[in-house]
């Protein structure tokens, strides 16, 4: 690992000016992706800007119109939050499925999204919740819908000098949802395939990870399912459409063929749970 200069700004403003001054700087939030990338030489930042204690990035706000998760909120803060775990168990399940306890005490939801891995575990429930990314940069604040945020593998709409200040979504975005993660080992593993399936009235929202260059919504399947009763045949047909919509690759974790089968099986089973539990 190369040497770097370490900064610890106290405000977002200070943070953004540091970013402007140091074009090869990296933001350190949880650090669970950054440190690994630095160790492997994939990123060689000249400066590290530690944002994890900036007051504006802290806290979870549960309001009547909006849930807001601060940019420095960790995975374990999410699933340990009494209201979030009651209202959004599938989001908490996703957060709990990331890494180990030690990692989850450091890793942040914002970092998970900004890292833009195709298999980001917390991306699929947030896509179903139609979450919005809040940013702060030299030109002020922006709000970016999560389903537009991911551009490609490890590429997002975030500008170089911007910071994610938080993630928000509507409290009533979904009536119910199910998170499923398939991995080689149950604990401390990356997703082979991960998925969230949610229902709002007669509409369904379906998002998958590790089946395309970015986590993605399966809009064709959602359109097919709209206002339909979830019979065995409907679920099977939805699974078949899903199989045709995604484009997984083969890698050391699984083959493309297995992932395609798992997309179909997981979706079919998740829909069955929604159907059964109403």
């Amino acid at each position: 690992m190369e040497n770097f200069v370490y900064y610890k700004p106290q405000t977002l403003k200070e943070c953004v000016s540091l970013l402007e001054e140091h074009p090869d700087a990296a933001l350190l939030n949880g650090g669970t992706d950054l440190i690994i990338q630095m160790r492997e030489g994939l990123r060689i930042p000249t400066d590290i800007i530690d944002i994890k204690n900036i007051p504006d990035l802290q806290g979870i706000k549960v309001g009547p119109d909006e849930i807001f998760i601060g940019g420095a909120v960790t995975m374990s803060q999410v699933y340990d939050h009494p209201e979030l775990s009651k209202l959004f168990p599938y989001l908490c399940d996703a957060a709990r499925s990331v890494g180990s306890i030690q990692i989850r005490n450091r890793a942040t939801i914002a970092g998970n999204l900004v890292n833009a891995s195709p298999l980001a575990d917390t991306a699929t429930p947030l896509l179903c919740l139609e979450a919005v990314i809040h940013t702060y940069g030299p030109n002020g604040t922006r709000e970016i819908p999560l389903n537009e945020f991911f551009v490609f593998v490890r590429k997002t709409l975030l500008e170089p000098n911007e910071v994610v200040t938080g993630i928000s979504f509507k409290p009533d975005a979904l009536d119910k949802a199910v998170f499923t993660k398939l991995s080689r080992r149950n604990e401390v593993d990356l997703s082979t395939v991960c998925c969230s399936v949610g229902r709002k009235g007669g509409e369904y929202r379906i998002a998958f990870g590790s089946v395309a260059p970015t986590p993605l919504r399966l809009l064709d399947v959602e359109a097919y399912l709209k206002d339909k009763e979830l019979t065995d045949d409907v679920r099977r047909e939805a699974a078949e459409i899903a199989r045709g919509t995604v484009s997984p690759i083969s890698d050391v974790r699984a083959s493309k063929e297995y992932r395609l089968d798992m997309v179909a099986n997981i979706l079919e089973d998740a829909l069955a749970i929604l159907q059964k539990e109403g």
Binding site: R184, D189, Y258, N265
Partner: protein
């Protein structure tokens, strides 16, 4: 015999230091004037080294020395001298060490490595052992015929075969003619890694008089000394190897590993300790790996379930250097019948050079790999003749008086007792319901056996020094690599001397100060070092009794040691304390005799003889056999192919349970390691490249994966072992993997011929069978 400390769950003597983190491992050692090493490694599996340009690296500030292989061309190796610590002339695997840099910081050393330019000419590579055996395959070691080799191994010059082990008992061809059924099955077991929690690390320092001091995380300080002495022509009194603590080995720190890279750097920079710590990526690619195995097993069975012949072909993918791996082919060869009494046995076990990472010792030493085939084969045969998996093992399983594949008559064999206990506890023939409609439940059992895979002369020694206050120091060179040997040795000494374990301090791992031990491998430490410790304690005890009989006027035969005293059995009021005799016996007139009491113990397993070179037959080729059975109850998810292990039952004949708590823990660990190989672990190799050199994509089980485990033992004593004990560390990881495969078959009707049995592989098979869609 009633015992006070042996057989009791004495707390680990190293426990507090390990749990609190206060124990200093080699990587914790910081010394003044230390240089740090980094290694330039080969990017090709097989290539000629054309040129090495060190100029830019040498100019880097902080770089102190750089060495290449052509400076030290003498080959070494434990059984077959085929290895240099740095590549000479060509590289034979991707990751082979080519250049070593010493610098004032690790960062500078790594930076220097990136500045070294090596020009290679790629050569055709051997990336499959079966292909590598064929005539015309590229030769990994064209000079094999010139290499020095121990006389019990059989390299085939002009080929990639580094050892061709043969076993020929009876007449298999005739037996196959006679058999009611003949079946042949093929199995493949991939390379895996040991993944000890502590990476390999060593420090070497040269003194002005030429003495080399080495601190290494190693299982076998004396094996390291032997290798360094040989390879660098240094007399043994000028090589000191210390292994202060080892954070897990599982075989990967057996023999010699990275120490030899450091010795020349130390010699060229006297006074500077030279340190090298492997990264986790190094561990996966550049430390020993468990060899791959291609196994073909052909068996002849009669309708009554009696197996009359077996013919095995084992082809071991030994990797680039087979100095240690040749013995895995041998060990598997002489154990190739499995724990069964079979009249006709024919085995060819080949260790084959490939351009893969270097194979070496791994817990089980060939048994885990081989039994994955043997034990599934048993179930296949049982089904063929319509008997149960338990019954076929009852019929063919070893019993006292049975005969092994090499023709040895076995006197002690607890296999049948283990089988009945596991069958009963697992309720193996009772179908139980799965937890959900899309799951299938099944049970399977497997047997296993193993002998210590060591030279006939593998010896141990121990010294016990009594202190003036009646406490003692015990010195052995058995290394506690997590298995608990420090505690077991202490218990043995405590038992014989009748002083409590907390009054004995054990010191290990310093070739200048602790006595000879061949290696901490082969499940031989409780047996062999334990026996030496027993002898040392008996020697000290005899000296005490000799003095006490003078002091007490009681004949030695009527004296015993009790709670720190030598006591007259029939007149317990007559007694003298160990403390008062520790430095000698003092008479009433003030004069004294004898001097300090030092007990000496030595052990070499008795009467182990070489087998016949042509046939492999031998009446006593190993110290003992350890037998056991494990059973697995599991579920398979037909939607994903995932296996959930519900319960594992284990029973081994250990001769004597020395410490119930430690032994149970050791067996549980062994089961988890076995399940890891069964379900997750594979070093994925493509064109000689390891595709998953990290824990991100090489998965071992976590505590969450632990099933309910029931651990049982039977105790048929091993007469040459201390208190009747025999080894179990490795045998205990043998059966769980094939038992898992047999349980998967029981659940699904699919046979898995390859490890690991990943969810994807099982799902694929279920789909082909029409169970999953």
């Amino acid at each position: 015999m009633s015992t006070e400390f042996v057989g009791k769950s004495v707390k680990r003597v190293d426990g507090v230091k390990k749990v609190t983190g206060s124990l200093k491992y080699v990587d914790d050692l910081k010394m003044s004037k230390m240089y740090y090493t980094a290694i330039k490694r080969s990017p090709y599996p097989h290539a000629k080294i054309l040129s090495i340009n060190l100029e830019k690296a040498k100019e880097l500030k902080g770089v102190k020395d750089i060495i290449t292989g052509d400076l030290f061309t003498k080959r070494g190796g434990l059984y077959l001298q085929d290895k240099n610590f740095l590549a000479v002339g060509k590289v034979r695997y991707r990751g082979e060490a080519v250049v070593a840099v010493a610098a004032i910081t690790e960062e500078i050393a790594h930076k220097a490595v990136s500045l070294i330019e090596v020009e290679y000419e790629e050569m055709p590579a051997v990336t499959n052992a079966v292909e590598g055996m064929k005539p015309g395959a590229p030769l990994v070691h064209p000079d094999l015929g010139e290499y020095k080799v121990a006389p019990v191994f059989f390299p085939v010059p002009g080929t990639n075969i580094s050892n061709h082990y043969r076993l020929r008992k009876g007449n298999v061809d005739e037996a196959f003619e006679k058999a009611d059924h003949v079946v042949e099955n093929k199995f493949y077991i991939p390379h895996i890694q040991h993944t000890p929690i502590e990476n390999h690390v060593a420090i070497a320092q040269a003194e002005i008089d030429g003495t080399i001091q080495i601190w290494a995380s190693c299982q076998s300080p004396f094996a390291v000394r032997q290798a360094i002495s040989h390879d660098f022509d240094i007399p043994m009194n000028k090589v000191r190897v210390m292994s202060p603590a080892v954070g897990g080995g599982f075989g990967s720190k057996g023999g010699t590993t990275l120490e030899g890279i450091l010795v020349p750097l130390a010699q060229r920079n006297p006074g500077h300790p030279i340190k090298l710590t492997y990264s986790r990526e190094d561990e996966f690619q550049n430390a020993y790996v468990r060899q791959g195995l291609h196994a073909t097993i052909k068996t002849g069975i009669m309708n009554d379930g009696n197996i009359i012949a077996v013919q095995n072909e084992f082809i071991w993918d030994g990797g680039a250097y087979n100095e240690y791996g040749v013995n895995i082919a041998k060990a598997a060869g002489y154990a190739s019948s499995g724990p069964y009494d079979i009249e006709n046995v024919w085995t060819d076990s080949y260790c084959v050079y490939t351009n893969h990472p270097v194979g070496g010792p791994y817990r089980g030493f060939g048994m885990g790999e081989m039994h994955f085939g043997i034990e599934q084969n048993m179930d296949i045969l049982a089904e063929k003749v319509g008997i149960s998996p338990v019954e076929i093992r009852r019929i063919n399983g070893m019993r006292p008086g049975g005969v092994t594949g090499t023709g040895e008559v076995v006197e002690v064999a607890g296999l049948q007792e283990c089988l009945e206990i596991v069958a009963e506890r697992l309720k193996v023939e009772e179908k139980e319901a799965p937890s959900a409609p899309h799951k299938l439940r099944g049970k399977g059992i497997a047997s296993g056996w193993k002998a210590p895979s060591m030279p006939n002369t593998a010896a141990s020694s121990a010294i016990i020094k009594l202190n003036e206050d009646g406490t003692a120091h015990l010195m052995v060179s058995a290394q506690d690599i997590g298995q608990g040997s420090d505690t077991i040795m202490t218990q043995i000494a405590a038992e014989v001397l009748s002083i409590s374990p907390d009054k004995i301090t054990i010191r290990t791992g310093d070739t200048d100060h602790t006595p000879y031990e061949w290696q901490t491998v082969a499940s031989r430490i409780t047996y062999s070092a334990g026996r030496a410790t027993y002898e040392a304690a008996m020697d000290a005890k005899n000296q005490l009794i000799e003095l006490a009989q003078i002091k007490l006027g009681v004949y030695g035969r009527d004296l015993e040691l009790k709670d720190g005293f030598i006591v007259a059995k029939y007149h317990p009021e007559k007694r003298v304390s160990i403390a008062s005799l520790a430095i000698g016996l003092v008479f009433d007139d003030g004069s004294a005799v004898h001097g300090p009491i030092i007990g000496r113990g030595a052990f070499i397993p008795p009467n182990i003889r070489d087998a016949d070179k042509e046939t492999g037959l031998g009446d006593h080729p190993v110290a003992f056999w350890t037998y056991g059975v494990q059973g697995v109850d599991l579920e398979v998810d037909t939607r994903t192919g995932k296996v959930d292990i519900l319960r594992v039952i284990s029973c081994f004949d250990v001769g004597k349970v020395m410490n119930p708590q430690l032994l149970e823990g050791q067996v549980e660990g062994a089961i988890m390691q076995s399940l890891g190989t069964a379900l997750f672990e594979e070093l994925m190799l493509k064109d000689g490249k390891v595709l998953n050199p990290s824990f991100v994509d090489y998965k071992i089980p976590t505590s969450e994966d632990m099933p309910e485990m029931e651990i049982y033992f039977v105790e048929n004593p091993e007469e040459t072992g201390p208190f009747g004990a025999r080894g179990v560390a490795e045998p205990a990881m043998v059966p769980a993997a094939p038992a898992t495969a047999n349980a998967i078959f029981d659940a699904t009707g699919i046979r898995m011929y390859t490890m690991p049995m990943t969810a994807e592989r099982i799902y694929e098979a279920l789909k082909q069978k029409g169970v999953s869609k």
